[in-house]
Symmetry: D2
Subunit: 347 residues, 4 copies
């Protein structure tokens, strides 16, 4: 790690963008140069209250944003001129159009899971393939569901235990702040295709996994919930499996016996622990629900969709910048800076 | 089938009791002698508006019910004195205490899935074991989730296709009329034990099935939603599997391509078809989501928990009465009387 | 009333259209000639299962609908050619474009509350202004919220009790069958303008009412819930107020003491009473919550938004056709045919 | 204010208790001596992770808590021995039984709104009656709904504008972390009595207000939403009314024009501003929805029920301790320590 800090720009100050911004500011080796957006609502006004330098991602929005009282520092070009890496957190589809511009500006670019794998030709989960991103000019952080799938299945694979995995993903329906045109009410909406795209996307990161996902949206707004049936390579003990998960980063145990009995219990726990925004960066896996029967393993975990990819974003910034060559070292720095835990309630 | 109608009493006029009442009244070979309950609220008052004879299940409730304007015809003893079969639909745990009384009155007794298998020593799903209930003095209709599991897995087994089945059951959280002390909000609650009781209960009806269920409650009130990963005995075509389901009773296809894209679409469809109470007695299986890959089969269906066991109740009445010896014949009579379909929208 | 039945066409077979269709078929003096729509989903396929003649509202949809298996009888022109009155139940905004066509075909036209008052120049609630619609070629049924507001406030006005009324309307967020792009989750959305449009719309029917409404959407899908603070012309007794509501049509009492303690209790009651689709055409007013204090009156009621305007549609058909001159007589015929009640649980 | 810090104990580490704990730790003139509870679940374990001294509120719970890994420091007696003031945040009804014990220990006691006014004979809202609590040995913080009602109506009264107020309170149904036995689903539950207890409770703080509330629970878990119709003493301008609210503490404006369009927008804004637990201590009043018409005023605001009483708790500790004699001075200290705002997005 060199002394010079990586200068990071965040383009798109939404669900992911604002969290990446927070996380970058906590890293010892990074410096936030500014955030870009195009709207003038409470999200961007809150960034101003926090003292962040705000840029207009589209030049034609400058006047509107200034009229709304936002002290716009400059345009996207101005923002890119100061950055080593830009994290594109614009809505699905918009980001793809930005790539040439980022390249022209000589800035490395990081995309989110809403974009196609083919855009950058590389999809990233730190523990699985950090090193393959070194030196690239762009990569893509896979979605929250895919990130958690890679984390947990890679943990089992690395312990020599994974033969095949079949998962049912009960997704949250929309974000908790959405108030119109996106919610579902009093229903469950199954994904019409099996396998759902998450298992296909998993294979963009770890091509050789035998994994099939089935997905549905349920009537809640916070965190996804996965149920897995895994065929192990051999009969194993419950403790062996737990140890495999303990050995992997960013998986933390929760327990029914602690009163963590539902998705919303964990959300409360994050607030109780003083987490910023109540975020959980870890996959929260129910230790006391996990069951092994011969060579079959069953488990369920919870994925805080708004936050789980944040540490991956931080690592990918380092990988693109090339300042840290070892993925495990980057993970260590990121997790220490954020306060990632392996067990939320252990001493 | 003899000329004499089976005289049926319903004890407990709640979610199941009122539907059994409706269904019995539609059967050509049955006669409803009355319903018993202990409360004086809108449910029982509605029974009075419908002209049903109402009895007090507990003698000490007679005065209270009369004071509320309910023209109580008599007590449970009076009701039993007129019945050949009583369908006990009282709340979980209450029914068990009634069994000796039913026996003393010489009335055959039918229980619901809230009671233990051991109470009657026999658990019932018509297509799986109708004949074994003939001549018994009591049986138990298994729960809605278990009934649907038995229907679909038996269909695959009977076609020689079933090796093992793993299911994730996304249950409704509470009944749609409940307004206090039972709902969950904006969360999912996983069942703490794997396997969940549904697969264990399935084996009370079909002991030799290799089945494991994982269950959770989601934040909706109408119908359960099951997701299955099935290992077939051999690679099979999609059409073979569909044919196996078509050959079994009380499974009806629905299709995403018809706009049936979520649990609540089907609920609307039942209303559109003029179903009483909007009920669906069939397991509604998404034909165009079902996927076969080699010897693996994936499918999802919807279970209208308030109604799916109603045809089984009707059949079990006949089996206990012994008037129809062939299960398929009873199923035929029941389904014709109710209007059960194999495809809701086919001509 | 002449012997000749009024020939009715329904254009748009959605939430309102399918209910108008049902209601027309129950009237002794009406004949349904067919329904028009443009889609090929389960709603229209269910109409086919019920044996209704289905027409393509747009000629360019004929082939698509036939390809989906719908036996299309003809186009909208064919449908109008057979009708005396058309009930336009197409989505908001579409209907306005149809008016000239209806006029050209010499068919009287009935619109729903999604259209502007200015389209027809007349807005209709049977008890308030039936007679003013006689002889017109078009009118508009006001929305469910406005209909219930007119019903209840007119009842108080007709009893000489109404000085001014201030209402808070807690609306359902979307329809129960919607599964995408319309729901709200775990929130309440206040209407940004006070007064909300409902009180303004009330005055299109009864111009002289002193009424202000404040509206919000809450996180449920079935029925609106209104809370009123009314200043009476003089101190009155509770019984006087109840009598005023009893004297008006299509207001039915419900009671907390019967266990009707929430919006979903009433929905269950409608199913228990065997109502088609579980519909409630009456404003359900909580008798035992209504409170009078001096010259202030407070009450709350429930509006089944999908059904409450159906009797008004039926009456408006007669008013446009001119076959019944007296509004009270039309209301009597409609209500008897549908089974409208003044008290759901009274003997 | 003396140099000696007020020593504060918190008995009951739940929704309110944990927030009072946080707030006390931020005050320059207070010292947290410890928290008492009786359970061993994640809430209390999180307190341990945070480094708080945990006491067993019941001696018989010590062993169980220690067995669960909680390093119990002592019992309630030990906790009280170190405190000047105890904030009782135990569940409704439990606290009343503790009062004699607090008195015997010579510790001043602060209760929450779940307890009756008669328990302490004094009910508290800082801006309304801080001074009357000076020197008392106990008081009660009124509920979140009542606190917000007092704040806003007192603001109007102090500006000479309030004649009478009628409010409809759309409450949240249960807390966001509850997963069983408390939620309502897809419904609204009206309070069966008018006036609801909130207006009665308001008069325990400000006896002379002419106020009537009507209440209901809606299907969401975070924040209450009040709608008010106020008769002013005279016709007033919108600006006069806004100024009255601006002059009062702990009322902050929000705006639809900033995209704060629903209850959940504000919840997201609190997270965006970095608020601990996402808490909002202010009544959030929609500036651009507020409407004045002659002498009638209409407005709506949002009450973060878990947090709105926290500043009142802090002030009441000072009032009981008697260290600050002027309510406005206590409010100033509290609000500065917490970061209370008058406008969330103003520079």
């Amino acid at each position: 790690m060199t002394d010079k800090k990586i200068r990071v720009a965040v383009n798109g100050y939404g669900v992911i963008g604002k969290r990446v911004t927070d996380a970058v500011r906590l890293q010892p080796d990074m410096e936030l140069v500014g955030v870009g957006d195009v709207v003038s609502d409470y999200r961007v006004k809150a960034a101003v209250v926090l003292g962040l330098p705000v840029y207009a991602s589209l030049p034609e929005k400058v006047d509107e944003m200034k009229a709304a009282g936002i002290p716009v520092v400059g345009t996207l070009d101005d923002l890119l001129a100061q950055a080593d890496v830009v994290v594109d957190c614009t809505p699905k589809g918009i980001g793809a159009r930005n790539l040439e511009r980022y390249r022209a500006a000589g800035v490395k670019a990081l995309y989110q899971g809403g974009e196609e794998h083919s855009l950058t030709g590389h999809s990233f989960v730190a523990q699985a393939n950090y090193e393959t991103a070194l030196g690239r000019d762009a990569t893509r952080i896979v979605s929250c569901n895919t990130t958690s799938t890679v984390r947990t299945l890679t943990a089992l694979r690395d312990a020599g235990l994974l033969k095949k995995a079949r998962g049912v993903l009960v997704r949250r329906a929309t974000d908790p702040w959405e108030s119109d045109h996106s919610g579902i009410m009093n229903t469950v909406v199954p994904e019409p295709h099996i396998p759902s795209h998450q298992s296909v996307d998993t294979q963009t990161v770890v091509p050789d996994l035998d994994v099939v996902t089935i997905a549905a949206k349920a009537a809640h707004t916070q965190t996804h919930n996965h149920y897995w049936v895994v065929e192990l390579t051999r009969p194993a003990s419950r403790e062996e499996v737990l140890e495999a998960f303990r050995a992997a980063p960013r998986i933390a145990f929760i327990r029914m016996s602690d009163g963590i009995v539902a998705l919303n219990s964990t959300i409360e726990l994050m607030k109780d622990l003083g987490r910023p925004r109540g975020d959980m960066w870890e996959v929260a896996l129910w230790e006391d629900v996990l069951t092994v029967n011969g060579n079959e393993l069953y488990y369920t975990y919870q994925v805080y969709n708004e936050a789980v990819v944040i540490p991956e974003n931080v690592d990918a910034i380092r990988a693109l910048a090339g300042t840290v060559r070892d993925g495990r070292e980057s993970i260590r720095i990121t997790d220490e800076a954020l306060g990632v835990r392996h067990d939320f309630l252990a001493a």
